[in-house]
């Protein structure tokens, strides 16, 4: 965390950091997509927070709203069809949803940066990797062409791309998948962000490369004391990296917990199902469990607990009443009517 970033935030209008406020706090976020087929309720009251130096893993199947939350934080949601119906997103205690366009643009890149799933399509194919990194340095920091080039090479070195000097002049398609994702990471670090959102950063990569990228992210995060949101659908990926985990289902957070407790004892049947569907070395020969059924259509979310049609523990109350967030212990919540029983099983 350089003095540089702090200063740039202090300089801008209305950007007084509120002392004691978390780095990022999302509260009761509601987002709808209005399409020809109807209104799709994508986020239905999402709340989470991230502190500096902490990694929050957001877990969920596709369509659970984890990426939409991230896009809303970044302010890159396609609107229309997206509409923010309510809630708040605070960065250093500053409300982003009410901030001016100019202020939001300042936060992007230098306050919160983001890396995307598919680096091939997320990088502009007609510009060199170097150009795409230098562009931010020149425009946002007023660096000269030469300084920006030098800094871009440093950044590529930092993410362990061999031959960075030569690589800055190459185009994204000349990189391998893993190298491309590294370049994407280097680009996101260009303005020394305090917070990094990684949207399924390893999904498009080979398994061996996945681990390398995760290690790199973890290393950079610790080194720079960044807050990180790691979005993934893969429980295996998060185990070593995440400090806390938020599990999303149908646009809600159904469980939030520190990583260790969650793995030891899931507090929601959905999390339990996810864990049981992981292949495990210590239980060879057993049949893998799967969660039956499909995620609900967001056009028509089931009444009561949205998970009830697929839940093995379903009771009558689940079909009528939306479960409240049960506080199981400090820092641990579950949105299940039977959370306590699950934990004490």
């Amino acid at each position: 965390m350089s003095a540089n970033t702090e200063q740039s935030i202090m300089d801008s209008e209305g950007a007084e950091p509120v002392p004691g406020a978390p780095l990022l706090e999302v509260k009761d976020l509601f987002v709808e997509f209005r399409t020809r087929d109807g209104v799709s309720k994508v986020l239905n009251g999402v709340s989470y927070h991230v502190e500096a130096g902490e990694t929050l893993a957001v877990l969920g199947e596709s369509g659970s709203g984890k990426s939409v939350t991230a896009q809303t934080i970044m302010g890159i949601l396609d609107m229309p069809p997206g509409h923010i119906m309510g809630g708040s997103i605070k960065f250093h205690g500053e409300e982003l949803l009410k901030a001016s366009d100019k202020r939001r643009r300042e936060v992007r890149g230098s306050g919160i940066a983001m890396i995307f799933q598919d680096a091939l399509s997320a990088l502009n194919p007609v510009f060199t990797v170097g150009f795409q990194i230098e562009e931010q340095l020149r425009l946002r920091k007023g660096m000269s062409r030469k300084d920006a080039r030098a800094r871009a090479i440093e950044l590529l070195d930092l993410v362990k791309i061999p031959g960075a000097k030569r690589r800055v002049r190459q185009y994204p398609h000349e990189f391998s998948g893993g190298m491309r994702q590294r370049a994407m990471i280097a680009m996101s670090l260009a303005l020394d962000p305090e917070m990094l959102i990684a949207d399924e950063p390893t999904t498009a990569l080979d398994v061996t490369v996945q681990a390398q990228i995760m290690d790199l992210l973890k290393e950079l995060q610790v080194e720079r004391n960044m807050g990180m949101i790691l979005i993934t659908h893969d429980l295996g990926v998060v185990a070593e990296v995440a400090d806390r985990i938020a599990v999303m289902y149908a646009g809600r957070i159904v469980e939030q917990s520190d990583a260790l407790s969650l793995y030891r004892k899931p507090g929601h049947p959905y999390t339990k199902g996810l864990l049981e569907s992981l292949p495990r070395l210590d239980q060879r020969g057993q049949e893998l469990m799967t969660i039956k059924g499909l995620p609900p259509s967001l056009l028509k979310i089931p009444t009561g607990c949205p998970f009830h049609p697929r839940c093995p523990m379903v009771q009558d109350v689940c079909k009528t009443d939306v479960p409240p967030q049960h506080r199981l212990m400090p820092g641990r919540m579950s949105a299940c009517h039977f959370a306590e029983e699950l934990i004490s099983e």
């Binding site: 643009r105 995307f116 997320a122 185009y171």
Partner: protein
């Protein structure tokens, strides 16, 4: 790249020979007396026929005729007409007018087409989008001679804003604006639609989202990232189009009486001056094929993903 260009050049040779031979055959060796009507109402004198037959190698089989003709042509000799005028000179005086007309048309279609396309592509559905869509449909459906005549009557005869014919040679740029608009109107509609769909498609692409997430100002996201990518198909279309515009605009040149290559070849056909027709067509085919090759290479320059080896 060098090898690719060479391979493409080699590929062009059979196409070039094929096209020019086809035209040569159509013009010279189809049924019909090439001398019919050449000497007024009377049949031509024996001496004249014999001289001309020797001159144009009409006694040889058509393939040999074609070969001899091409040999001369490649040495820069386009031959002379029945009445003894050098075809090369005729082309040299006519072609600058056609090139000017083509450039004016290209400029008009590029400026108007790209602007309209960007505007509607960025705005998305709405009144302006529908207006532009309907306008392009009309431009596509209007035959060139209708556009030409209507503008000539309204702007020239009725309002008196323009000269109805451009008889000077070389044609002054100012007088070519309306003919250029007529010639370029169809392509203008295509440029508009192509730009619009290209922008609309790229607007939602991942890399544009990345550029926004990097905190770049809107003007830079659109002006650099979006436009640079959307320009690729539009520029290649314009390149190809310049190739076909250079091919002469028989109708536009006819309506506005521009002394260009289209006019020359049309008169050549009507007066059965085969040398003019084959000479001009050979030149046009060459221009067309080379311009296509240049567009292909331009494409590789614009899009780094494409590599020709």
């Amino acid at each position: 790249m060098g090898r690719y260009v060479l391979r493409r050049l080699l590929q062009l040779i059979p196409v070039f020979i094929g096209t020019t031979f086809l035209i040569y055959w159509l013009v010279w060796s189809l049924p019909g007396d090439p001398f019919a009507g050449k000497c007024g109402d009377r049949p031509c004198p024996e001496a004249f026929v014999a001289a001309m037959t020797a001159k144009f190698n009409l006694g040889d089989p058509v393939v040999v005729q074609y070969g001899k003709y091409m040999m001369n042509l490649l040495q820069g000799d386009f031959g002379i007409t029945f009445s003894g005028i050098s075809v090369g000179d005729r082309i040299a005086t006519a072609y600058p007018n056609t090139i000017r007309l083509a450039l004016v048309a290209l400029a008009i279609e590029a400026v108007i087409g790209i602007s309209a396309g960007i505007l509607t592509g960025l705005r998305g559905r709405g009144f302006l989008d529908n207006l532009v869509l309907v306008t392009t449909l009309f431009l596509i459906s209007l035959p060139v001679f209708v556009t030409g005549f209507v503008l000539q009557i309204v702007l020239g005869f009725e309002l008196g804003w323009i000269k109805t014919t451009v008889s000077e040679s070389p044609a002054p740029w100012g007088q070519l604006i309306v003919p250029g608009f007529v010639l370029g109107s169809l392509s203008m509609a295509y440029v508009t639609r192509l730009t619009r769909s290209s922008i609309a498609e790229n607007r939602r692409s991942d890399y544009v989202r990345t550029a926004v997430a990097k905190g770049l100002p809107q003007s830079r996201v659109v002006g650099v990232h979006l436009l640079r990518n959307s320009a690729i198909p539009v520029i290649t279309f314009l390149g190809t189009d310049l190739g076909s515009l250079m091919g002469g605009a028989i109708i536009t040149e006819g309506i506005f009486n521009i002394k260009g290559i289209g006019n020359l070849v049309y008169r050549g056909i009507l007066s059965k001056e085969g040398v003019i027709v084959t000479g001009v067509v050979t030149l046009l085919v060459m221009v067309y094929l080379l311009s296509n090759l240049i567009v292909d290479m331009l494409y590789a320059v614009l899009d780094p993903r494409i590599r020709y080896d």
